[in-house]
Symmetry: none
Subunit: 207 residues, 4 copies
DNA sequence: CATGAATGAGCCTTCATTCAT
DNA sequence: TATGAATGAAGGCTCATTCAT
């Protein structure tokens, strides 16, 4: 009884917050991060400026929330993808499949504009960035797992440690994605990424 | 008499422009790109604000001029470096030497801050960027020359075209440099770049 | 039954009001008056913002209530102090003892920050101030009583009326307290006040 | 030749600055210090907001400039007044004359509202305040000079040091002025100040 | 060529207050 | 009585740009 009415209020608040969040994401994707003002966000969401600050401590807080939330789910998608592959598939093939999946997600789900924001924010090195660079750690683990399997099975031969090797692959996928961002739309992420990894994999594959 | 003064004026004008240019570059390197205001630039150059707009149409115009000029010289440095290597050295070794050189230049001459600007500007995709991405074409040619030599001599075996292969290497060095920018100072560019290219080169080297 | 709940509600309401009142006083003492927002008060009190406006018409209304209540008790403390002194003590000594007591209360109980608020509010001349300046009238009476005794006993000789004389002493103690506020912590209120009053008392003491 | 045109520009700038300064002072006198926004000042001065920040680094900077300038001249007025008194007049009379002068200046030239600001700012203890409290040092010296003369001539007898005594008198005049501020217009500053100082002077005068 | 005063839209943020529940 | 989401005016401040001299 006493819980009911406040609940409705809470729901409304969450709705508003969500609307702000979504509109902000939309605008960020269109115009970048510095270029989107709080004014623009609240206008898009159809609420007052004060309301913004009811729900977010600052514009920066929104950015961080946006990024954290945004990249948060991707890990699981990637992990699920790898887990769904046949257990006994070659590590090389698993990696290439993962690369293809990543390319699909970046291209289809996330989009170039949003990735541009992510890369810009990384360059700015603002607070909360760690979560996004740390986001990599999820990806790291996925790569590491496959690589370890490949090493154990004798598929890969390398003088580098597993950790080092993992880092190089993550660097590579990030680098190609960056290139895609700045060359978009004249750059086929999937095709280029696969070709690139074929070179890398050849480099670490035993003859 | 009437010809003389305008000439002198022109010279003085160039001096002023150069001073603005240099001070701006200095400040860009220290604090990034958005963070440097026109005010800061003119103060550093010791001229008035109006003078700035005598020489540059806008702040953006200065940025573009800066970038174009800035990266312009680097090509030659790289080319000179490769040309100075023994003609008959292995293509792999030439490439690794070039990578080391690039790392040295980025780390020592250019610096992390300036590269952050460059990458940020690339992401923004502003006008004039083409000249900077086109800057890559200089680098492209250098890479392509060495790679071609490696292919002709049978050192490299790849199903990719020379052009494709070149692109992959340039992407790789850019990706690692980006990583260096966002992880600075916890990232040894030279070491990581060399290790990374050893993998790549192994990938394209015939067994 | 129907009488019971409203009663209980009233009690609860008073509790909430008291809590708001106390928390506000605490915060006012810590950070001054403008610097404490309604948000800060309701957060400290653990109630919602709406609740604040159930109990107080406005922030200003709270301030006035706070001041009135706050200084209300001090009179009695001072009066009790003077009453506790030996009936036949010299008026000069009684006054010096009162000054010392006032200094102790300001320094120890009330504190510099709160007095700053009081003085600031007096300067602003907001509504309700009269009650606080009228607070002085309690102090007036205390001073007047002692002074009258001193005159009657021939200890003080002055051409001023008792009322005028009283005012001058109150002005003096207020002036020194103000000085203490603005020089805090580089000002020993008790020491300076006693020295100051020794001059004043010498001025009104018969030779 | 080359100095001429810039001079005219400089004059215009100074004019604008002066206008801002004066309008601000006017508004401060009317409504206090926090209550006057930069918007209000620029509107009164008929210039744009940007112009304000061309001439003053911040609102605080203006306040400080205002106070410094404001009280700056008063010292000299007081000093001139005392210097104009007959060299051989009694120190007591000189002091009373000075008190009367101060009361006249506060009442006639400066006005109650502006003094309220001064006292409020002192309470706030903002930066630059030292100059205003330090303003006292000019007044200090004037008081000290007269007091020293009175001591040397045997007119004053006190166990306090000259410095201490000076401080007490300055405190007293400040205290009375404060009282005037908060009781205005029901308080005759000149009359009260003179009466007050007669007590104080009696207190430090040998019989 | 050089100046620098002036502009004004725009920025992020704060906060006392209202009102439907 | 209590809630808390919503408001919106106001705050101080920044900055690229213009223009008369």
């Amino acid at each position: 009884m006493e819980n009911d009415k406040p609940a409705r209020k809470k729901v409304k608040g969450e709705t508003t917050k969500r609307k702000l969040f979504d509109c902000a994401g939309q605008l960020f994707g269109e115009s970048g991060f510095d270029a989107v003002s709080v004014d623009a966000i609240v206008e898009a969401a159809g609420v007052s400026k004060g309301t913004f600050y009811v729900h977010f401590e600052s514009k920066d807080a929104l950015i961080i929330a946006f990024l954290t939330d945004y990249v948060g789910g991707v890990d699981e998608v990637y992990k699920a993808h790898v887990d769904a592959l046949p257990e006994d598939a070659a590590a090389s093939d698993k990696l290439l499949s993962l690369i293809a999946k990543i390319a699909d997600v970046l291209t289809g789900t996330i989009g170039c504009k949003k990735m541009q924001i992510v890369y810009k924010v990384l360059l700015a090195g603002s607070v909360g960035t760690e979560m996004v660079k740390g986001y990599g750690r999820g990806l790291y683990q996925i790569f590491a797992n496959v690589l370890e399997q490949g090493i154990n099975r004798g598929e890969f031969k390398t003088s580098l440690s597993l950790d080092e090797l993992t880092k190089h692959l993550v660097i590579a996928i990030r680098g190609i994605s960056y290139e895609w961002c700045i060359r978009h739309p004249d750059f086929d992420l999937k095709e280029q990424a696969l070709a690139h990894f074929q070179i890398l994999l050849a480099g670490i594959r035993g003859r």
